[in-house]
Amino acid sequence: MRRRIVAVVTAAALVGTAALFGGTPGATAKSPKTLTMATAQIKTFNPFTSFYDSESAILTAIYPTLVQYDSKLNPVPYLAESWTQSPDHLTWTFKIRQGLKWTDNQPITAKDAAWTFNLIMTNDDAATSNGSLLENFVSVAAPDDSTLIIKTKAPQANMLYTSITGSSIAIVPQHIWESKVKGLKDYLNNSYPVVGYGPWILTGYKPDQFATLEANKNYYDGPPKVDRLILQYFKSDDAAIAALESGQISAAWNIPATGYKTLQSAKNVMAYQQVASRWTGVEINPGAKTRTGKPMGTGNPILADAQVRLAMAYALDRETLVKKVLNGLGTPGQSYVPPAYTQWAWKPSPDEAVTFDPAKANQILDSAGYTKKGDYRVDPKTHKQLAFRLGTHADDANDQQIAPYLVGWFKAVGIKLTLQPQSFSGLNDNLAKGDWDLLMDGWGTSADPTYLLSIQTCGTLPKDDGSGGNTDAFFCDPEYDKLFKEQTAQFDVKQRAATIGKMQDILYKANADIMFYNNNILWAVRTDKVANFRTGQPDASGSYPVQTLFISWKQATPVGGKSSSSAGLWIGIGIAVVVVVAAGAFFTLRRRSTAAERE
């Protein structure tokens, strides 16, 4: 009798749960075509307080910008159909595309754009994220619904990069955000669906888990090819790689080099590299000082000698770093502006190009008068050893891998390095105070290199009280500053590129920042789930041109074939097992309690 009861219970449990979970996610024919991609962490959807690239990628996909990048990274019309400048370049007139509607059917006009810009210019909280982009703006006005007039203090060549897809200022609907200005600082913009305009509509977000976006069928340029975009957050790279390998996500990027090698041989996975938009290197304290020239910090004065820094540049083997640290997935560093942006491409002339040449490094130091005493060289004037501190980021695996190489290479030319691993904030603290000799450094940039170039100007040095500084390496050269000012007003791209080239040359020769390598962006995409994600043609080394997520997301095409979801069945089986175990436990206990009677 008991056995029959157990059998009936088990059968009922199995049937019931299988029925309940038979039709679980993704198994029906009408399920939306979905692109699931791994993303970095998202903390807010408020475009006025957002700092992270992962957030701005979403924000400029759900809110319009004046211009967008085309597939070759050129600024082309988006919300602004066309634009003209006054002869003195101080007034820009944008013609705003008419007939577009926010997702709540209110019309999008130039007034929304003017309101957004003015809010950032007048409200401190709104300026948190992008206020620095509008420092050169005098006024923004919308005399009518289709005209936006921007007046600047000085000619601004990079005006179009102020509001462009992927970064910078997204234009928000005035009628929605007017009431949010009061509590703007804490407003997360988390009532879904978010009222905006773009190829996507933000329809949901689970903190620290995923964001869901639906394709906007009314997008002026045609809706995206997939119906739904899910951006899932993985806290560990290994989990993202496992998810890609098992087909739970369709694309992932910024994959670590080790994972990339695994994915190259995985089934149905296309692993590829994009040209680097970052560089990693070391910065050398050329003599930290304030804006007025007052020396500050405990930097070793020997490093102010440009010959010492030049010798250090010759002592480094960049090829080895690319091979050993990046597993070959990058290029040796040379130019200050990363190679992803071909319009700013620059190479040192053959006679000034630095190679791995310890003999030359030794020769330079010998000629400069630093004689060897034992293993290390000594400064002839102070008799102090050429011993310097190298600060590294304690939590950065690459930094920790590179550091021992530097110690060895510098020893070979008679320079002593002491490693000082620090936290990110600790390192920045010391940097700002000038208490450093050498520090590991790395920067990236978008297609407009203005900010990257600005951190090497004298204007970013700190004030005499130590505050107000934003310098990268305390580099200060009046000639560099002059060129920087020039390029801000050069509207011809080739002209601007030439000036920026001269600036890169100055930095290259100064060696306040020595480039190690440019690490390629590593991507992996499931070929059985999505096509058309990758764009462009590979270069000689097989790396693809860098591309904005805006374009990749829009043109990604779902690949046919139902996604098999056995998950539901497994849930059902799991629950059936639990029920059976519970039933078993129940009957065992009952039997046990009556054992005395049976005895």
């Binding site: 939306p32 408020n46 290994d238 056995s566 799991g574 054992a595």
Partner: protein
Amino acid sequence: MADPVAAGLAGEVADAVASPAGPRWYRSGFWPYLASKLTGAVISFLVMLVIGFTIFNVMPADPVSALTRSHPTSPAQMAALRKQLGVDLPVWHRFLNFVGHTLTGNLGDSWQYHQSVSSLIADRLWPTVLLIGSSTVISVVLGLWLGIRSGWRHGSVFDRLSSGISLTLWSVPTFWLGLILLVLFTVGAGPIPSGLFPAAGMSTPGYQGSWLGQVGDTAHHLVLPCLTLVLVIFAQYVTIMRSSIIDELGSPYLLTARAKGLRDDEVRRRHAVPNALLPSVTVIFLQLGTLLAGAITVETVYSWPGLGFLTFQALQIPDLPLLEGTFVVLSGSVIVMNLLADLLYRVLDPRVRAQ
């Protein structure tokens, strides 16, 4: 400083002698016991607040440069941000804010999330409680059961197997085990098919099922993290229970019980186990208190949206309000669990009641 417990005892004895006919609730000694334990807990909490604040403010903290690292920000902007976040306030001012905030429950605003710390913690509390709760229940049941069986027949093959396996699993790093299980059951290996379990999160993105279906979905996501935690911590309960049972084995009262005619099972269940349970209770509560923070590696591997990872995130900037807030919650939970263990002891063990 006078021992509050001894003082309570002395008071009790004096009262019992002086007025044997006093009200029962006072003579029972529970309230002095509770009062003394509560006082101890409150003092610990306040000391913890001071220590926590000191440690976090000794760390170099310029959150603004960390926050704006990858974003074009002018020095003027950074100065404005510093002012907005209150980074430049003097230390004593921040300490007063901190204490005031903690006592009123308003833990300040996170510098990187732009929302209140209490709402951040509230959002992530349930996932952590779910994970910790389920893994604790399963590992307690499993560990105690194995411990009882092993201890009762210590030296047997079962004993050796269970002790060996549990200790091996305990010495395995949680992170590593988590990664192995993740790869094994997500990517699949050998006979195990691919895609058995999800690789991240607490729910499937875009899932539109019924309420019951959603519970099932969460359960499906919970399996691997819970399994990882269970495998790593159940050994503690096995060991503690096993040694307690072995301690009890030679006791005369068990001989009496057997002489009365009770079966072996009943002797074990009704007499040996309750007495052997006490040390395990202590361990369970201690473990619960610390597990809240200890699950961080599991939460990271499985991208489980819980408190542990929030604490780790707070360290990154460093996001001082968030760090202080999570510190208060996590240390507070240890103190509360200790207090509960003390009170439960009084219920479980008549010898404590008689004190």
